[in-house]
């Protein structure tokens, strides 16, 4: 009967959760009958437990579930749009590749005519500038419309750009090999 106070206290908690075996419960009850300090603690702990028993439940706002579903729908629409964008980007790259092969055949022509190659170079620089402007615009748009998701979207864009670049290089190399053959 001289168990440390902390142990009895822990047993009381277990009893409140209905986690004691019948034998343990019997022993605890016996102790409470002969120890006023623990009996008081038991009453107080029962009070604490009772404070939370049958707690009041708050009903969620009526439109909560609908709002969740609307956010999910919006998200799905956005993702579908991004998928479509990725696919069209890929198609664009493939198209550019196909166009690049005859252009490479023209390279010998360009070497023989410096003025022509200069004009082509200038056109390429202009195209790169346009691409850069589009890129910046997309970043600003993403930041404006997406709030906290902006960095994720930018990261996705970066990954897509790197992937497109790497794919482009590989295809170019392969194309060069085919041309060289």
């Amino acid at each position: 009967m001289n168990r440390p106070h902390e142990e009895i206290s822990q047993q009381i908690s277990l009893a409140l959760d209905g986690a004691l075996s019948l034998e343990e419960e019997r022993q605890l009850r016996a102790h409470l009958q002969e120890c006023p300090a623990c009996a008081t603690l038991w009453e107080e702990m029962r009070g604490v437990s009772g404070l939370f028993e049958r707690p009041p439940l708050l009903a969620p706002p009526p439109l909560l579930a609908a709002r969740v579903m609307r956010r999910i729908e919006r998200r799905e629409r956005w993702r579908a749009w991004m998928r479509r964008l990725a696919v069209s980007l890929l198609v664009l790259i493939l198209l550019a590749m196909v166009l690049a092969i005859p252009l490479m055949g023209l390279s010998t022509l360009a070497v023989n005519h410096p003025a022509l190659s200069q004009a082509v170079f200038r056109a390429l620089v202009r195209a790169a500038e346009i691409a850069q402007a589009l890129w910046l615009g997309l970043g600003i748009l993403a930041r404006a419309f997406l709030g906290r998701g902006e960095w994720l979207i930018l990261a996705v864009w970066l990954v897509l750009a790197v992937a497109a670049g790497v794919g482009w290089m590989r295809l170019l190399r392969r194309a060069r090999r085919i041309v060289a053959r």
Binding site: L51, F52, E53, P56, L57, L58, A59, P60
Partner: protein, 217 residues
């Protein structure tokens, strides 16, 4: 809710069926919302937290392991979200009164007890606000969600024995808090117009001893 029916919805939702996911939201909005309300202490924040929780559930649906209990999985996502949110929170939040019509009907409650319920909610909110987060969480899962030690351990990423002692220390902390509040009341001190936590605490300790046990959430 039947476990089989639930699993059907989960599998359909995993395959991208939004209607099935809507069913899951309907089924779990009350437990998630009440967990968030009790963790955060503010109804408006709880609504936002509930939305964020379900968005996370949606995006992680493919990672759900059907051998786990779906309710435990959802509540674990909700708990983690609330704890993160509390960590990010700066400064104190103002307590706001909840309109009485928003309380869910309690079968055993007479209409005139509605005021009592509001009072009780305020006491509970004050008591929970004083508890450290890990204690608050186990109290909520044990009493609001009627979960076993095992389930609480699963949700809080801990062990059954850790849950046992945490729950015990949480109750001790509540008791100490109430006693401390009682002792701190000097007669010379200005009395607040509203009943203090300590005054209501004692009354609640008395009243709660006569209250029957509740049904699971």
């Amino acid at each position: 809710m039947g476990g089989d029916q639930e699993l059907v919805w989960v599998v359909k939702a995993q395959q991208g069926d939004q209607e099935a996911f809507a069913r899951l939201v309907e089924a779990y909005q009350v437990p998630v919302y009440n967990l968030a309300y009790r963790m955060l202490g503010v109804a408006t924040e709880a609504e936002d937290a509930t939305q964020e929780t379900f968005l996370r559930v949606y995006t992680r649906l493919k990672t759900y392991d059907p051998s786990r209990k779906f309710s435990s999985w959802i509540l674990s996502i909700a708990s983690h979200y609330c704890v993160d949110r509390l960590r990010r929170r700066r400064g104190a939040v103002s307590m706001e009164e909840v309109e009485s019509w928003r309380w869910m009907a309690d079968e055993g409650l007479a209409p005139e007890d509605k005021a009592l319920q509001r009072e009780r909610d305020r006491s509970i909110r004050e008591v929970l606000a004083t508890l450290p987060e890990p204690y608050r969480l186990v109290i909520i899962l044990r009493y609001w969600h009627n979960l076993s030690y095992e389930e609480i351990a699963e949700i809080t990423d801990s062990t059954e024995s850790a849950v046992k002692s945490r729950l015990h220390r949480a109750r001790q902390a509540v008791l100490e808090g109430l006693n401390h509040a009682l002792e701190g009341q000097h007669p010379l001190e200005e009395r607040k117009e509203e009943a203090s936590l300590a005054q209501r605490g004692r009354a609640l300790l008395q009243a709660s001893l006569r209250r029957p046990r509740r049904e699971p959430l």
